[in-house]
Amino acid sequence: MNIVGELALWTALPVAVWGMALGFMGGRNGRGDLVLSAERAVYATLGLSFLASLGVIDLFLNDRFDYWYPAAYSSRDLGTFFKVSGLWAGQRGSLLFWLLLLNVFSAIAVWSNRRKNREFMPYVIGVLMTIQTFFLVVLLFAEVNPFERLGFTVADGQGMNPQLQNYWMTIHPPTLYLGFTAFTIPFAFAISALLTGRLDSRWITVTRKWILLSWFFLSNGIVFGMRWAYEELGWGGYWFWDPVENASLLPWLTATAFLHSIQIQETRGMLKVWNMGLVIGTFLLTIFATFLTRSGLIESVHTFAENLTIAWIFLGFMFASAAVGLVLVLYRLPKLRSESRIESFLSRESAFLFNNLVLVAATFAVMWGTLLPLLSEGFMGQEIAVGPPFFNRVNLPIGLFLLFLMGVGPVIAWRKASARNLRKNFVWPTSVGLGTGAILWAIGIRHGMALLTFATSAFVMTTIVVEFWKGTRARARIEGEGWLKAFYHLIARNRRRWGGYIVHVGVVMIFTAFAGAPWNTDIEQTLEPGQSAEITSPFGHTYRLTYEGLSTNINDRAQNLRWQLVALMSVEQEGERVGTVQPEKRQYFVGGNRDPNTGNATEVGIRATPYEDLYVILASVPQIETGMSLNDPSAQQAHFRIMIKPLVGLIWSGIMVLSVGGLIGLWPATEKPRAAKSSPGGRRAVAAAGD
């Protein structure tokens, strides 16, 4: 199987080049036969990259430690689940995995457009196959071939980093990669639109679902990564503005901007150049993120010489793509003129434009902070770095403004908002927002940023609730339906709009969770079995945690554990027993079992409630280090760090709400959208009729 896989990988290169050449030639000469052959090349490369991926999984499952990649990432003891996840655990595999996902999406795009949008398809295939060729060249020639042999065989592999042996870490990279690769489809259509000169909003309409799909996966991928950091890194945080995290956030920011700005182009024929810029920029950022996460370029500037070949190939590709995009946009500039212009400061166009501007500003700020060490070294010969304080300082006000716009944008009128429109739509939300702020102030909340976030969140939530209420009521009256049925039909008839609102609800929940961070509370205490620690929640109640004792699990081959210490703590809330938490320390067998100090893992104990998490870290067990027998109770003395994380659960429930909204928007259409909906006044018609 591995030989077949390796062969498939090599075969894929000429096939991809063939598809690329025929796609472009077929498009240029209008030769359908060439395009057909290019389409078949797309399906062929999908088969080939699938075989190559199977080959890599086969290497892992059969413990082929004569191959570099499994020898460096797997071990005999590793569970089957994690062996399969070896396909994306390291640089080599993850590049192949990227290629596989791109192939899957390419094939779906080609298949679903086999009878329509034919004017775009030749160049779409050409662009997709160019990107595939690029990844194949990297895989085969940049010293990252997953099928590279060692020339000798190690008895056992290095094992997987225990921090990666976590459910969220297993699904986090693939989800992000799904988001990254899905975005190449809109990019390919955009380039095709530029090449063919079909520059109306057709290419956007065709790829709208792809844009949303990509955004859906990116959002989930980022939050899965946060969840992993929260559970596995054991310091109680979920976001650290680490270069790798930032790299995944950058395309998300521009994709979010794009998701909004395309609505202006579709409705008003504006922002054509801007949208081209965003789609090309987002694509480049997905490539940049893949490159950054897997090259270690930023976090360790002093040692990045590890694999310069791949760095140069990636940089070259990014520059070439940017140059081609720029030239095409400049060439087509006369055709990208705006069909209308902004009429008023108080209009939906304006709100969307500000949303875009602010998102791009955030992208710029995050990128600047991330690349600062590299830029300052290059231009000043002096490395300068910024950390979380910088990113928070810049992004908190930006985030707050975005949150505010989220309340304004969807309900303000297109073109020019009348005083009536403003009064009708904003009296209630503004009152609720101000009221929430006043109540929170009255009960003693003085943290400015958090107060503003809570008040703005209430404002946004009210706009959404009022919209749903008005829409449902209007439907119920006009169609004579029951409330529930009317609510269902309301969403079903314009899933894009109402799905979008539900996505906004999820985002508001996540922002609210962020604003809980100033009330994070923590204590540290050394306890012997039977002793207790107390911590008071910002919500007022007190937890009492009693350390019941330590249980051990030594030499557990099934779980690949050298040892495992589990501290059992019973939790009482206001004197009432509510459950237990079990923070752990573990040591995994890694590195071929040779070094007892490697493979430490701290597993935190979390007791989650909807409004706050109790988060306990087993910081150390002093007697373990002196080798005392744990049978002696005093030897079980342990040091704990106990934290309360208010509102953090809203992140995880928020992403679920966001996903529901996203899925509503993504669901295949059952009926043709009515023409009235695309006209500026049409959207308001239903709500207006209800008044």
Binding site: G90, A155, S344, A365, G387, N593
Partner: protein, 157 residues
């Protein structure tokens, strides 16, 4: 077009605010990011540089770790990745990252942030390199193969 004018003012306003935030953010929160060699050179040029907060990336000196007085006080040494003579002691209070290691045959890269106080680097931040992004080199795998061959079979995991 008065409306467009107002709109432009808004756009320029947002751009100005963000630029201001980035500018002051960088100047007020930036730290120098240095290797131990560069840090020591800086001291020699300008002794007052010891007061400045810096970020340093280096390697944890094997077997240099010892526990401090409190449960969460840690002492170890950092050495430059390329120059063995550039080394200094570090004190860190907090929970050690899981990937922290001072075993003799491990290379643990650490990034610390803080400043010097009486000859010891008081780290307020300690990050150690997550292994996932750095695969074992061919040489390391080769060394390991030889080690495993010397060990009785039942010792092999």
């Amino acid at each position: 077009m008065p409306n467009n004018g107002r709109f432009m003012v808004g756009l320029v306003g947002v751009a100005a605010v963000v630029t201001y935030l980035i500018w002051t953010g960088v100047s007020e929160t930036m730290v120098y990011y240095l290797t131990p060699v560069e840090l020591i050179e800086r001291f020699e040029e300008d002794p007052s540089f010891r007061e400045v907060a810096v970020k340093v990336s280096g390697e944890v000196v094997p077997e240099s770790y010892r526990k401090g007085q409190g449960e969460l006080e840690h002492h170890f040494e950092i050495v430059d990745l390329e120059d063995e003579t550039a080394t200094f002691p570090v004190r860190y209070v907090g929970i050690l990252p899981d990937t922290f290691n001072d075993a003799p045959d491990m290379l643990t890269e650490a990034i610390i942030e803080g400043r010097f106080e009486e000859g010891t680097f008081e780290a307020t931040l300690l990050l150690t390199k997550c292994g996932s992004r750095f695969e074992a080199s061919k040489e390391q795998l080769h060394d390991q193969m030889q080690l495993q061959e010397q060990m009785p079979a039942d010792h092999i995991g």
